[in-house]
Symmetry: C2
Subunit: 135 residues, 2 copies
């Protein structure tokens, strides 16, 4: 627990699932519906700061989220990233990407190329949340 860390102090998005080890949140990113984050509950910066069993446990949650995003939203591509330059508390971005999304084929951190999000229906988002909540 780090008192200056936003991911120790707050959930960081819409909480969809959690256990003692990690949580899954829906990121509050209007241009990227279905963008999820897997956040370690503990304040640790790097994958190699974790013991191998914990690295694997964290990635198994990341893969489960990726699988559910793929089956419910059918994106063209999945982007996975653990950066943590501003918030050095392990969190994985799992980002559904479409050819008509605001940055494709560039990373979402590059300059925007289009104005609007790829359309995702309310039914798709509901299915995503339902499946994630029973991880």
């Amino acid at each position: 627990m780090n008192h200056d860390c936003p991911l120790c102090q707050d959930v960081g998005g819409e909480l969809i699932w959690q256990n003692d080890f990690a949580r899954v949140i829906l990121a509050d990113e209007a241009l990227y519906p279905g963008f999820c984050r897997v956040v370690l509950q503990q304040h640790v910066a790097e994958m190699t700061d974790l013991i191998p069993a914990d690295r694997q446990q964290l990635m198994e949650i990341v893969y489960a989220v990726e699988q559910i995003i793929r089956s419910t939203l059918q994106p063209h591509k999945i982007n996975l990233a653990a950066l943590g330059n501003m918030v050095p508390h392990l969190h994985w971005h799992i980002i559904p990407r479409w050819q008509d999304d605001p940055h494709f084929p560039a990373p979402i951190w590059a300059t925007t190329q289009r104005d609007a999000a790829h359309p995702v229906t309310a039914a798709q988002l509901t299915a995503l949340k339902q499946q994630l909540s029973s991880l």
Copy 2:
């Protein structure tokens, strides 16, 4: 093997280590000395297209590279990413980040904030390559 895929057709950087399953290359990124990529030898797009044992095998190489980058270059942070929007052939970016690097604390795909790379010595790069080559 995909005849239109640059990572099927070429190594994609300076080859440091490989086996039948994956290879480690030093990226040709002047602003990011020590930037490595772990490239699957097979043309597969997503982590969840691999069987779980192969996902784990790939990540163990990523962690080994991360560990060696950390011990030889002592960066402030490691960034891990598997994007593949332009080249949908699994490859992990393992990027050493420093507070004085061209984009810190933003992702390396954002707008540049500084002109020059963080200084890395020839001895550090030699140690990095030597340790990676005996993975």
